[in-house]
Symmetry: none
Subunit: 349 residues, 2 copies
Amino acid sequence: MIKKITGNRDFAEYLRGKSASFVLSVSTTKTCNIPNLTQAGIPGLIHLTPTLDAEFLCSGEVRSLKDIAKTPKGVPTPALISRAVHLLKPFKDVEIFDLGVDTKIKVDYFKMRDFALEPSESIDKGADIEAKKLYELGKEFAKDYNPEGDYVILAESVPSGTTTALATALALDYDCVGKFSSSFKNAPTNIKQETIKKALGNIKAGEKVFDKLSKVSDNMLIFNAGFVAGIAKRDLPLVLAGGTQMACVYMIANRMEEELDSKNLGLFTTKWVAEDENSDIEALLNMLGFKVNAFYADFDFSLSSHPALKLYDQGEAKEGVGAGGALVYGLLNGLSKEDITKKVEGFLG
Amino acid sequence: MIKKITGNRDFAEYLRGKSASFVLSVSTTKTCNIPNLTQAGIPGLIHLTPTLDAEFLCSGEVRSLKDIAKTPKGVPTPALISRAVHLLKPFKDVEIFDLGVDTKIKVDYFKMRDFALEPSESIDKGADIEAKKLYELGKEFAKDYNPEGDYVILAESVPSGTTTALATALALDYDCVGKFSSSFKNAPTNIKQETIKKALGNIKAGEKVFDKLSKVSDNMLIFNAGFVAGIAKRDLPLVLAGGTQMACVYMIANRMEEELDSKNLGLFTTKWVAEDENSDIEALLNMLGFKVNAFYADFDFSLSSHPALKLYDQGEAKEGVGAGGALVYGLLNGLSKEDITKKVEGFLG
């Protein structure tokens, strides 16, 4: 079952049966090196997360992890969910947008779009991103972008990405405190708040929007906002697969574009985000000057007794690597909760 | 399991695994306002049936029904079957051919082909259809018609459509009394016979075929006959999804065209039609000058104990909204009788 958050129900119904290109956009912000800020990865190796997620999504293997034994028994990456759906009801294509990662992704054959970007700096030191250039790059790239699927599911893997997203939305003057989610059940509010406070402190009064973004945002957010603006001019349905970070992508595009035709723009996320009591994605989407067709998958791990998966239902992890988008796609194409649960459990042994 | 009625078994085998555009052609004939002639809908609101079927097929909701509480607990629309298959093994695309309905269909995003037609008059008063123009419209439209699927499943929703179909076949001098089915188990023979008698009474001796059609037929039958004739010239498999009404579509095309290459022409229907003792679709198809590749789905509700669904197995409803075509498509693509039964039951609560 699929549930509507905002927009037009028929957007999702129309995509039923259509083939999808699943695009994982990855970038690293050095913000993720701040201790205990995120749990999206292996402590000490958090910067590897986007690379490992991309490798696992495409191949079922994590290839850039030298010592796999070090993987802690924590919350498993939501990449497991996206991969499970891909095994059960494969996407027409899986592509990677490499928007600046620490370690090269070791995958062959798959379309790997290399935009020659470096990881951005930590936002407490000013992210040092060429924001205007990056936004225009996304917009320009969207013009001729030619996916194999009937529509595009655009996912992300950016550790500490909810921190940079919240900082970004605040810098753009959205009234959004308490509305962004976290990969933690009990978010490390102090570290996060302090980081964001430092980041916003680098902004000078009267600075232009792009200059603000250069200091507090991340590559994924800015490039994808440009990509959204470019795709909106075309007749190609685009679904951002993610939670409040993807809402932030729309919030950037909303500030940059005077008008944006959102008929073909969507957002698919998880139940853990949509029903999260500590964030409010619906409120974020309602701040936009256009209507996003937003839905979530009515999927949880209530059919599983695996302790690692139970953590999702308790509010850990919630979303990432397009898990929500993969789930909605799976449910739209006839997969059942049982099918998906079993396949994810299979990865954990 | 799929069973052959007429034609070449490999036609269906070849379509296994292919993607399908499911097209619902809808029209209203005011014939349906004759009391007790049809049970295809809500008494007093029968004219709404094509609109509601289209809405439900696309979106899972009936949007043009103001007071849903009025729905009687009768035979549920076969749209439930088509929708169930679409949820389990989605069609590549769902399209609507609007051939003149009473109430506008409230669905966005889906391809809605508007041919600017009005509902036709009741056949007992002369249907008042511009038959030649409508047939040519269907034929012309078929030339450039470009579906998303590898083949086309063309369904219909026309309440009282078996009455107009029988009147049409009789007017075209087919020896078909007793061979057309009804949505009733015990068809209201008197009302139906009287209506058809009146309709045929409007035809003058020596009238041309198109002039006869103008008086006794319906928009769906005539347009689709033209569409069939147009598609037959192309390399695109077309399956008419329905029972004796769809046989009648072929019977019209058979009268109009001197030659018709039927290699790519099929018909998929239900077991309830194919094994109906009160009609004979095989005999109708054998009256044609060409061979239609006709099959039925060996599906019934023997696995269900739901009283509303049991009515199908007792001979009520039988077919409509492409139920037979959806079932054959589902069975060709790996769905089981259990899968489909459960999904249909899910709609009824």
